[in-house]
Symmetry: C2
Subunit: 477 residues, 2 copies
């Protein structure tokens, strides 16, 4: 008698080189762990009965999706930071709002992001941001999702008011305080719930810390054996600062000080040249690409495919909702595929099976969860999603001349087809409904939190006068 069996269904295990397809498969789960996976007959003869039986005939059963880079804390500012020039985005749309954020508002914002993500199949959130102590205790641990979290380490008080063409004023005391916070977070939360929450170090970006502090962070990561979640080669402000200070590029600077290693999860990387990408690959850096966010904020395409072609390991993330505007890995998978195809003018680039791997097993390996999740294999934790294929956009299901499920998951699904989400063996979403906390309450709370934030922040936002204020004044939006 095991805890749970998922019977029938098209299983994508993500074992091996591709999607690891099993026809009419079954998965047995005990104590949150996968104890058997294979053809239905084999699994059923191996185990006895099961307390909970989930029938997945005609459905897709696959590992939960991994959002390798997300800031959940500002989702309540959704739809206020799009369609503006890159130079305005942070200073004129994001900063006037974040300035007024409180831990209480961040928690409600984060809950909304996690609700959106988990309902569309994300089981593991690599969540970067302030207030992670509160967010871990009030959001990730209570909402039943898996998370990699870190607090931002920076020695720059605020970007607002800084002239990017002069070296920033560093506040070394701030850096020390931020490192202390990071260590507190790690002490309290790392490997909580047998790995439901893990922690890492989060230096913000190469321009936001002194060389000494960057290396100190690296030392701590080595000592504690943790990844470093780091915005890397983002161009703009970062490139200007590194040029002024060290007369070189971010990647070359980081290489020269010995910062780059297989611990580093480098986020975005659209500012890196092909040669610099090669340096990163050689050092074992993992790339986290956020295709929608970088397209929407910068009008650019991250070099995800190049990185993989150079032999690098990569993963995909949604970034923040006030950039991307949505926290949905099905959207991100399709965007990663399509944007890389047009970047290379080659429709064969990043085929659907590879995209699915980036969002599951390879994502897990990149962010230090490869031992626990990312594939459906005996001994791994049971983070599993089940999609209903009897939807217009996933019909028909074809098995000859070739199987079409993989293509349809990337090029047709939008996340609304996710019926069941299981994390650590627990059913979190059932029949498309999130079960742990009332969805209505989370939505209502987020709306109220947004109302509160706007009461405080609207004046600053109006004063900063981003391009889209013009549309508002002209009554166009």
């Amino acid at each position: 008698m095991v805890d749970m069996i998922i019977r029938g269904g098209h299983i994508l295990t993500m074992k091996g080189n591709g999607v690891g397809y099993i026809e009419d498969g079954a998965i047995a789960i005990e104590d949150g762990k996968i104890i058997a996976v294979g053809r239905r007959g084999e699994v059923e003869s191996k185990i006895g009965g099961a307390e909970n039986r989930i029938y997945a005939h005609g459905k897709v059963v696959m590992p939960g999706l991994i959002n390798a880079h997300v800031h959940t804390y500002m989702t309540i500012a959704r739809g206020l930071c799009q369609d503006v020039p890159e130079i305005e985005w942070m200073i004129k749309t994001v900063s006037p709002l974040t300035k007024h954020l409180t831990p209480e508002l961040a928690v409600k914002s984060s809950r909304l992001a996690v609700l959106e993500g988990v309902k569309t199949g994300t089981t593991l959130f690599s969540d970067y941001g302030p207030y992670m102590m509160e967010i871990n205790s009030e959001v990730h641990s209570k909402m039943g999702v898996r998370a990699l979290t870190c607090t931002p380490i920076s020695e720059v008080k605020s970007l607002v008011g800084q002239n990017p063409y002069e070296p920033y004023q560093f506040d070394l005391e701030l850096g020390e305080r931020r490192i202390k916070e990071a260590i507190q977070l790690i002490e309290k939360w790392h490997n909580w719930g047998n790995g439901k929450i893990r922690c890492c170090l989060g230096p913000v970006a190469a321009d936001m810390l002194t060389k000494e502090t960057l290396l100190k962070v690296k030392g701590i990561a080595e000592e504690l054996n943790l990844p470093i979640h780091f915005h890397l080669a983002q161009g703009g402000r970062e490139a200007i600062q590194i040029k002024i200070r060290y007369n070189t590029t971010t990647v070359r600077y980081l290489e020269s000080i010995g910062f780059l290693s297989e611990r580093v999860i480098g986020v975005h990387c659209h500012g890196a040249s092909d040669e610099e990408l090669k340096i990163m690959v050689d050092k074992g850096v993992k790339m986290a690409s956020c295709p929608t966010a970088i397209a929407l904020i910068d009008g650019l395409i991250s070099p995800l495919n190049q990185y993989i072609q150079l032999g690098g390991m990569a993963c995909i993330g949604s970034d923040q909702a006030n950039g991307n505007n949505t926290v949905n890995m099905f959207n991100e998978m399709r965007m990663a595929a399509i944007l890389n195809k047009v970047k290379h003018k080659d429709p064969t680039v990043l085929p659907a099976w590879k995209i699915l791997r980036l969002a599951t097993i390879e994502g897990a390996q990149c962010i230090g969860f490869g031992d626990l999740v990312g594939s459906l294999e005996e001994g791994k934790r049971a983070d599993i999603i089940i999609l209903n294929l009897k939807k217009p956009n996933l019909t028909p299901v074809i098995d000859k001349p070739i199987r079409n499920i993989t293509f349809n998951l990337v090029h047709s699904a939008n996340g609304s087809e996710v019926e069941t989400v299981i994390i650590d063996g627990k059913v979190i979403v059932e029949n498309g409904v999130y079960k742990v906390i009332s969805e209505e309450d989370i939505i209502e709370d987020a709306q109220k939190a947004s109302d509160q934030l706007m009461d405080m922040a609207a004046e600053d936002y109006v004063k900063s006068d981003p391009l889209i204020m013009k549309y508002a004044r002209e009554n166009i939006i």
Copy 2:
């Protein structure tokens, strides 16, 4: 006493220059026509009661979306034609399947496409393809949607076996037969149901007809006062043929023979230079851009934003499901925005309000339905969709410092938020469920039709051996 009133809600009328926002609005409908639209109090005091009251408080009420270019007849081959080289797409993945299509299978395929489209908010389908006589009678008219339809006019029997580097063999008799079919369709269906179905002429592309036949088609369109739905400047095969035959480009050839006019809906246009786009704009040609399809099939981005910047009128379509892989205008709107931003490396390009207009009022104007639909105005037919904003990805709703609804509809919605679809005053989708025919039956029928098609076509597909067969052989997909 009117037939229907929609009370409350954020109304986007699409009247004026922007989205034509009305707070807490109402719309009254009588005999399928909008008879009043405005603030709720004003509308309610103008009309008496209503037989059917729809409460839309806190929801978005907007015109139904217009899919300006779609081939509904091959949706049952979804997921078999992606990730292949452009040169393989038509010859090695599409043709081996379409070769075996029958009108009966096409009808079931088309029903699936319309179901997918209407559930995600499309009310008007500009449907291009063979078997339109059957599809109009068995699909569009029975399923209660609005459509612009045409049959393909070509003088080339089949592209398979044609050498693109030699002038095609034309079959003039075939051309005459196709024109006869087109006229029969128009006689039977044009303005059926007071404009629920309209027809136009559908010459396939500049390379597929002789000059004489193209001009004959143009003459018929003028005589009958109909649009011409036409694949234009698609590069590849078309560009090669026009170069061989006339030593020029498609746009210059068409200009020289006097084909281009404000009747022409030119689809794709990614092969046109900026100068040629200017010629098209000057002639009043309407551009239909299918962003996802061209990215997936060709790895290219259509010059939608350039066309608009040059002063041209444009609209958006999904193209066929065996290219795009999905028939969802929310996906298409987001792709149009993002792909044009990266094409110009400028995140301000095609702001959300403009994208919404392309998919509604401007789409209607482009394809000859501007008199009937596309905006919510007195006197227009009632094609209306209502979206539930109490979804994680559309939360929060903000009205100050600026309204965020327009941004969220383009950059967050995926179509699953569509709750109600009204076409010609009739509720077609209610609580997200299509009401006219059982969804399950349509899906089941499409699955069976696909099974039948694959029984016939699998051998040819395997023999043609597209790149993705390799993934199948290696058990990667």
